[in-house]
């Protein structure tokens, strides 16, 4: 069992639900991965289906360029608190209502 590899386990909690990452396990081949995943992720009826994915089959994406300040593309990009205060002062009202 020296040649074990990591399998990522995804499980579906009920029919129609999306698969979600459940955890991972080390196993020497798909048969062992299946038997062990059944016991670890299915024996209490918590899953209706499992996906077992060799970790090596996963294509990793984790680098994001953020050289230009693009926060205006996001809904959390603006802090409107200060602007709102200014606008209220111009309008002569203290606050909502």
């Amino acid at each position: 069992m020296s040649e074990q590899s990591i399998w990522e386990v995804f499980r579906k909690e009920k029919r129609g639900a999306a698969f979600e990452h459940a955890g991972s396990l080390a196993a020497p081949d798909a048969d062992f991965a299946e038997a062990w995943a059944r016991e670890q992720y299915g024996r209490r009826g918590e899953s209706v289906a499992l996906w077992l994915v060799p970790r090596g089959a996963i294509h990793d994406v984790e680098d994001w360029a953020d050289e230009f300040d693009l926060k205006y593309r996001r809904v959390d990009g603006y802090s409107i608190k200060a602007r709102l205060k200014e606008a209220r002062e111009r309008a002569g009202t203290a606050g909502p209502g």
Binding site: M1, Q4, L25, A26, A27, P28, D31, F32, E34, A35, W36, R38, E39, Q40, R43
Partner: protein, 210 residues
């Protein structure tokens, strides 16, 4: 319905479930530790279902499981062996599952629908136990340690089945039929295990409710 045969099945499952549970926390691989312990619990669950069937609605399955003396148990000597060595443990698990499949298949044809129904229910869960046992067997079948363990346990494995079912076990395992170590006899290892298994129940004050 052959009550003695059913009691033998229940005692096999209880005692093997107990023995396999001795690996909890110390199995050679973490993932296997979880799987092996889970299978051991399943076997005890099968034992409970059979004891309940034998005891009947008004009976006491716990009394049947735990209040007999060691010599009154009907388990086969195979399941009594205290095997804290992985090759032998997994060899026993595999031999047991092969023999158990033959026995359960026969029970599914039982004239009593309650027995046949319970056998079918047990069989659906045993399918995963067989998958587990077969994958280990496929992996270790050419390992000398495993083969030696299978050969050592073979006379015990034959003792799991009544004589009329042994031919199929011989064909499936591929070893020559030898003198079986028969059910009805016990190893020296049963009594100490029984002491531990029934200790809490025997020491509980009369009338204790669980």
């Amino acid at each position: 319905m052959n009550e003695q045969a059913l009691l033998g099945l229940a005692d096999d499952e209880l005692v093997l479930g107990w023995r396999d549970s001795e690996w909890t926390g110390i199995a050679p691989l973490l993932e296997e530790d979880v799987a092996f312990s889970s299978i051991a619990q399943n076997e005890i669950g099968h034992a409970r279902a059979v004891y309940e069937l034998l005891a009947g609605p008004a009976g006491d399955a716990d009394a049947l499981a735990f209040d007999r003396k060691p010599e009154e148990y009907r388990c086969a000597p195979l399941v009594e062996l205290h095997l804290l060595e992985w090759a032998h443990t997994i060899a026993r698990r595999w031999l047991y599952e092969v023999a158990d499949e033959i026995r359960i298949t026969a029970l599914k044809e039982n004239a009593d629908p309650a027995v046949a129904g319970l056998a079918a229910k047990i069989d659906r869960e045993e399918a995963y136990h067989r998958m587990h046992a077969e994958m280990w067997h496929d992996r270790l079948r050419d390992e000398p340690r495993f083969r030696k363990a299978v050969e050592e346990l073979w006379p015990y494995a034959l003792g799991l089945l009544p004589t009329e079912l042994r031919g199929e076990l011989v064909a499936r395992v591929g070893l020559a039929e030898v003198d079986a170590i028969e059910r009805g006899t016990h190893t020296d290892e049963l009594a100490p295990m029984w002491e531990e298994m029934t200790m809490v129940r025997r020491s509980a004050p009369a009338g204790s409710q669980w």
